[in-house]
Symmetry: C2
Subunit: 178 residues, 2 copies
DNA sequence: GGTATACTCGATCAAAATAGTCGGGAAAGA
DNA sequence: TCTTTCCCGACTATTTTGATCGAGTATACC
């Protein structure tokens, strides 16, 4: 399992989306403003999320994104795998004998145990549970502005590199193989 | 919680160490060969692990590294935090109102929930449990060559970028803040 | 039809992290 | 003294991150 800020952004954005999709599709511009993530970056992330069918898109005025299936049926593992993509996995090729020398890919073996635990764990956390937690905390979700196309020119937020490049607990950039 | 290949390497190396430390200190050179991790990189990682007192070092012939405390008392979270270091955490500064606009650092709030879960989880996995799993799997641990300084010139392994730069489940490079 | 909204796609880019190299030390044992 | 092993700092190549820009396409509404 690979965990990066990329994954963090994706999860955060998905929670934001889940919290608000009752009022119809949510635009990336809105998520960008609320979560301080650059619009272009969100576009990239949601491109992947859409290809993995975690979200659906609606174009044109009043359009935006909605969840591809119920929040309860989307897990954190789903989201993270979607944005981190890469398909390979095992350095050796996945089969038994990677190094002729008797010990078939011990490196890979050692890691596999923890990795499996991680995957299982993240797969047990649903988007819905995170949403519920937010609601329980009393997060206020502005209620549907039924007027479409509201005030057009909200001040464009120009996010300056705000992300903690090195949080203590940061999902970092490499490999939980398999 | 931040998870990188760096963390993977560290965990893998620690399991290797734990599996073998009964026969006295384990050299980085040995771990390097078995786990296919570059010696210099291991030195960097073990420097951090030592500063965090997860391992102890012994210099000179017959020297090497041993665990700083019992494997049962070392958690995966300990290891990962050690090599990933960074101390900051919350993009905002940790306090309540990061953005004047009523919503105090929602971005951070949203993420915090999942992050806490991750930390709790990784803190619940002990090095010992991973070691036990390996032993149960029947991993063969060569028994103590009681002859110190054995065959000196085992072919030096020159690890070519062997790490899956993009494993499906890779611990990636960024931020689980806090 | 025209226009504004919104997603879609691709190329490009600076900064950071990852993973590794190199070389010179310093302690300890034989 | 020689060898082994840890120790440390500087330096480097590659990859990833996160962001920007520009050119599209689909849709709604007037």
């Amino acid at each position: 399992m690979r965990l990066t800020t990329k994954g963090r952004f994706a999860v955060t954005a998905m929670i934001d989306l889940a919290l608000r999709q009752n009022n119809g599709p949510v635009t990336l511009a809105a998520i960008s403003q609320r979560q301080q993530i650059s619009l272009s970056y969100l576009e990239q992330l949601f491109g992947k999320l859409r290809r993995h069918e975690l979200v659906e898109s609606t174009r044109g005025p009043g359009g935006g994104y909605s969840l591809g299936r119920k929040a309860a049926e989307i897990t954190v593992a789903d989201i993270i795998v979607s944005v981190d993509e890469p398909i390979d996995a095992t350095q050796c090729g996945g089969k038994e004998n990677c190094l002729g020398e008797g010990n078939r890919c011990m490196t890979h073996e050692l890691w596999a145990a923890l990795n499996a635990k991680m995957v299982d764990f993240l797969d047990s956390v649903s988007l819905q549970s995170l949403v519920d937690e937010q609601l329980a905390k009393g997060v206020v979700v502005e209620n549907a502005p039924m007027i479409k196309r509201a005030i057009s020119s909200a001040p464009v937020v120009k996010p300056i590199r705000v992300n903690a490049p090195n949080s203590v607990f940061a999902l970092g950039g490499a490999a939980f193989s398999k």
